[in-house]
Symmetry: C2
Subunit: 404 residues, 2 copies
């Protein structure tokens, strides 16, 4: 196509798209995906990113294209989206026991020999439910199961080695229907106010997880040539990698990281966690950049220091803190001014509005554009049915549907 006939792209800063809008910065995304993949490979672990974060098949494709081992999901509704979009290997980081859920998984296993699937179990009752549904569905091959190890006061997962052995034995007893392939845990649930106590708690939990793996290995409960050992959210993978790669079992094992938030990183909670990781490891790797922004319009400046924006709790998550103010663009100018050190604070949010307080001389007018940087990408992604993929100048490269 001759250059002169190119359709000019939509530009966010020119008000070419309806606001509020959720924006993914293409360059940052691409670098995050490549860097985290390289980091996992250099660390000798498999990467199976938690894709519940984005539920955006276009991003699944990028992560798989960059070489990740598989993708992680947490519900069967999510799994179905993944399968419809051709994801070949799924780590189902949850108990699987709903009748329709198991039937769906078995249908996929029967239909597609290339589908590779792994799920968790933490109780004998759960194993029996799962095995019963699998027996009824007859997928033609066993469902792969990892025993989930949990944390006292935490979420799912066995609390002691004895229960882990019972669950593993129940999986083995469900022989033709289930296969015991490894152990799993999520260290991100460790709570504690002080970083040092939290880190000690994570190390202790990883020790428990390794102990479960050794106990099941010692009793010859694992099938297959290798054992899978999975942990690792986005907060402590630097602790997970050495703790679990150092494990010694009677047969080889592979460590699977499930970090998901590296994809877009964030402007709050995960930014702080990455600083902790860099501090602990004494390295600047992996280097991640925030890629997710919510663009809003100034609806009102009803009092001198109060700015009302056109996005609220239906547009961004607040579970890990309110978004920060990133950028101000005077309507019609497309010139960006950073708000990072400007002293703006989100003091409240209602369903469709954010209330920002700003110091005198903020220079903002009704109709101006303001970008927000959320904390915890998961609970901002899930507010949107379409995301704008933009280049560094906020030209729209693509519109990406989400499937929450």
């Amino acid at each position: 196509m001759p250059a002169g006939t190119e359709r000019p792209s939509l530009n966010l800063l020119r008000e070419d798209v309806r606001l509020p809008a959720c924006v993914l910065r293409d360059g940052a995304l691409e670098r995050n995906i490549a860097r985290f993949q390289a980091f996992a490979e250099a660390s000798g672990v498999l990467l199976c990113p938690h894709a519940k974060t984005s539920m955006t098949p276009a991003l699944f494709g990028r992560q798989v294209g960059a070489g990740c081992w598989g993708l992680t999901f947490a519900t069967c509704a999510q799994l179905e989206v993944a399968r419809r979009h051709g994801v070949p290997r799924v780590f189902y980081a949850n108990q699987l026991l709903g009748a329709l859920d198991v039937r769906y998984v078995c249908g996929e296993l029967a239909r597609d020999p290339g589908f590779d699937f792994y799920c968790l179990a933490d109780s004998v009752a759960g194993v029996r439910l799962l095995a019963g549904h699998v027996a009824a569905a007859g997928p033609g091959r066993p469902v792969n199961v990892l025993v989930e190890a949990g944390l006292a006061g935490g979420r799912c997962g066995v609390r002691d080695v004895g229960t882990a052995v019972e669950v593993a034995q129940a999986v083995r007893a469900a022989g033709p229907h289930l296969a015991l392939v490894g152990v799993e845990g999520f260290e991100g649930l460790v709570r504690g106010r002080e970083a040092s106590r939290r880190e000690a708690g994570v190390r202790e939990f990883l020790g428990f997880l390794a102990g479960v793996a050794r106990a099941l290995d010692g009793r010859g409960l694992f099938g297959g040539d290798q054992v899978l050992v999975s942990a690792g959210g986005s907060a402590f993978y630097d602790l997970v990698i050495p703790a679990l790669t150092a494990l010694r079992l009677s047969r080889p094992h592979r460590v699977i990281l499930r970090s998901g938030c590296y994809l877009t990183h964030d402007h709050g909670f995960y930014a702080g966690l990455l600083e902790d990781i860099h501090r602990r490891s004494g390295s600047a790797e992996p280097a991640l950049e925030p890629a997710l922004e919510v663009w809003t319009q100034v609806l009102s400046v009803p009092e001198p220091g109060l700015i009302i924006l056109s996005a609220g709790r239906r547009d961004f998550g607040q579970d890990a803190g309110n978004p920060i103010a990133l950028t101000h663009v005077r309507r019609g100018s497309a010139e960006r001014r950073s708000l990072r050190e400007s002293g703006w604070t989100m003091t409240a949010a209602s369903d469709q509005h954010a209330h920002m307080t700003a110091p005198p001389g903020h220079g903002v007018q009704v109709g101006d554009l303001v970008a927000l940087g959320p904390s915890h990408p998961c609970t901002t992604f899930d507010k949107w049915r379409e995301l704008y993929l933009v280049d560094d100048g906020y030209n729209v490269i693509d519109t990406l549907p989400t499937y929450f």
Copy 2:
């Protein structure tokens, strides 16, 4: 169709639908719609329910069918859904100034002579933006504008009568493009710990709103035969009705209530607000029933008093408190046991899980079903793309798509 050939309906209690699931109880919905409509009519006010709550066109249809004056929306994306589903009259309870938003509204006004539209303005700058966009779009008739009155420290809206007059004059000055038809405010933003102080604050705000109406009326700024005066969320409509129907202007006025949460009511925040309304009015009207539930499955009972459910903050809102435990159904039995006085508490929620603590002897097993009753319907509705409409026996009557 002969009775014997009827397709048996799906039943939620039999695990016929995938869990977690968001459920609307048909009988409760129907009664809430009829009762609130009757209440508004008996009170001599127009009802224009805030439909951002549900964003479920099947419910828009029921509300319109029951006789409401129009439907209220807060964003242009919502308005577009309403128009695609044939909603004829829209109260846009927000500032309207985005370039694409105004263009869309003008396109609809030009396309459909039956489209009746009202929006808000609270600044001269905003009026000029709106008027400029309308002038460029040329809808062939003026856009109806109400001056928004606000609360100090609150959201949008003029803070004093002088500014209201300036905004109204700007609307009048934008003559062929805009028409000034009334005043609006949202008393639900009044904060305060004690009920009595909150009520006093609401009365004061309603007095200010009435004062704005009188000031604009006294200056002859309103056009048309009647003046519209709108307020009323779901917390204080009992105070709004007498305060605003008692207003005396130089021409007739109509009061428009915008309550939205009556549709499904709730099990927390709005349940408490309705008790306040009944107490203040000394009446049991309107009688509302909670209609919205989130059904989950027990994934794990990893410790004696800890139950992990298959729904989390991606499935229900927490902004007005965690959901309560409503019902327990033993897997396979379909027999319902109330959990209302059972001492269960949701102590934490992660993206896809809820953590319930329950007293000894809770009798719950892995695989059982548990229903949750959310607080604040708006932030639970928006987590779902499909809702199940069920009868009193939890047979699925219909699947209703949402459009968030």
